[in-house]
């Protein structure tokens, strides 16, 4: 599976906040058509990147016991363009989380410039609609995907250390 729109987590506070980075590169083929002579990252892919950041945050909050599905885009407002060579930072926070669903808020920035504000709602599938078939692509995090696991591997072990030092302050 190559549908991965974040490159690295730089911060991960389980159940609360996650910050990820994504490097935008001209090697992403769709940029040549979006748009010819003026390559900019499509807003829908920024939403997807935020959905992956937030979705992993929500999934991990429940220790991946349930599948997490993006259910609603509550808000997606864009303020500026993202161009090849930019590194965007996706900062996601959990606003509310209950057994059936979770609500997240998020900001995308590029070197302190605000690019977007994206608020999402996720549904926990095993609690709701158990037994129904869903296409694989809808799942933000599929436990069979090793690439997402590698994203988390470094930050979860480091995250414990970072959280401790935060509390000491």
């Amino acid at each position: 599976m190559r549908w991965i729109w974040i490159d690295k987590f730089i911060e991960f506070q389980s159940g609360r906040r996650a910050v990820a980075l994504k490097n935008v590169t001209l090697a992403e083929e769709h940029l040549h058509d979006h748009f010819p002579g003026f390559p900019v990252m499509p807003e829908c892919l920024m939403i997807e990147a935020m959905a992956q950041t937030s979705g992993i945050l929500v999934g991990e909050a429940k220790k991946f016991q349930e599948k997490v599905i993006l259910a609603k885009i509550k808000k997606a407002v864009f303020f500026d363009y993202v161009k090849p060579g930019d590194t965007i930072k996706l900062d996601a926070r959990i606003e509310s989380i209950i057994s059936e669903a979770a609500s997240t808020s998020g900001k995308i920035t590029c070197e302190d410039k605000l690019i977007a504000e994206i608020d999402l709602m996720f549904s926990h599938i095993d609690q709701n609609l158990a037994g129904k078939e869903f296409p694989q692509e809808n799942f933000v995090f599929d436990t069979g995907t090793s690439v997402f696991e590698s994203l988390l591997r470094d930050v979860l072990s480091a995250g414990a250390g970072a959280a401790d030092s935060e509390q000491d302050r």
Binding site: K74, S96, I98, S103, M121
Partner: protein, 131 residues
């Protein structure tokens, strides 16, 4: 927090406008969430989260929208209509709704019509007064 009913209505209106993407003037007191305002099940959760945040109250999900339990219990539903037991359960669990019209034809397909803007305002008012 002593809020007047009008103030509550105004905030509930804002919540519904944000959650459902409808215009202010569509959110009348009689408007039904699902029929008139186009709400779906995921929207109900969004509305609950937003109401909790706006009014600083806790809303157990089954309190505001308990109909799902009602619809699935065979003691409460018979031949697509709510039984007397079901109606009592409805009165008990959803005191914030007005079931007078529903009682004359308790068709479960019409249950969704009970969820009006007014019902939400009633519910919030009740919660704020109890606090």
């Amino acid at each position: 927090m002593a809020m007047s009913r009008d103030e509550i209505m105004q905030q509930v209106q804002e919540v519904l406008v944000d959650a459902l993407g409808v215009d202010d003037d569509e959110v009348t007191t009689e408007a039904t969430l699902m029929g008139d305002l186009g709400a779906e099940s995921i929207d109900f959760l969004d509305i609950v989260f937003r109401l909790e945040k706006t009014f600083g109250i806790k809303i157990p999900r089954e309190e505001l929208f308990p109909a799902e339990n009602l619809m699935n219990d065979s003691e409460f539903v018979h031949n697509g209509k709510l039984t007397e037991k079901g109606l009592n359960e409805l009165r008990d669990k959803m005191p914030h709704t007005d079931i007078t019209a529903f009682e004359s034809d308790p068709d479960i397909n019409k249950l969704a019509d009970l969820f009006t803007v007014n019902a939400i305002v009633n519910y919030v008012e009740g919660k704020l007064n109890a606090a």
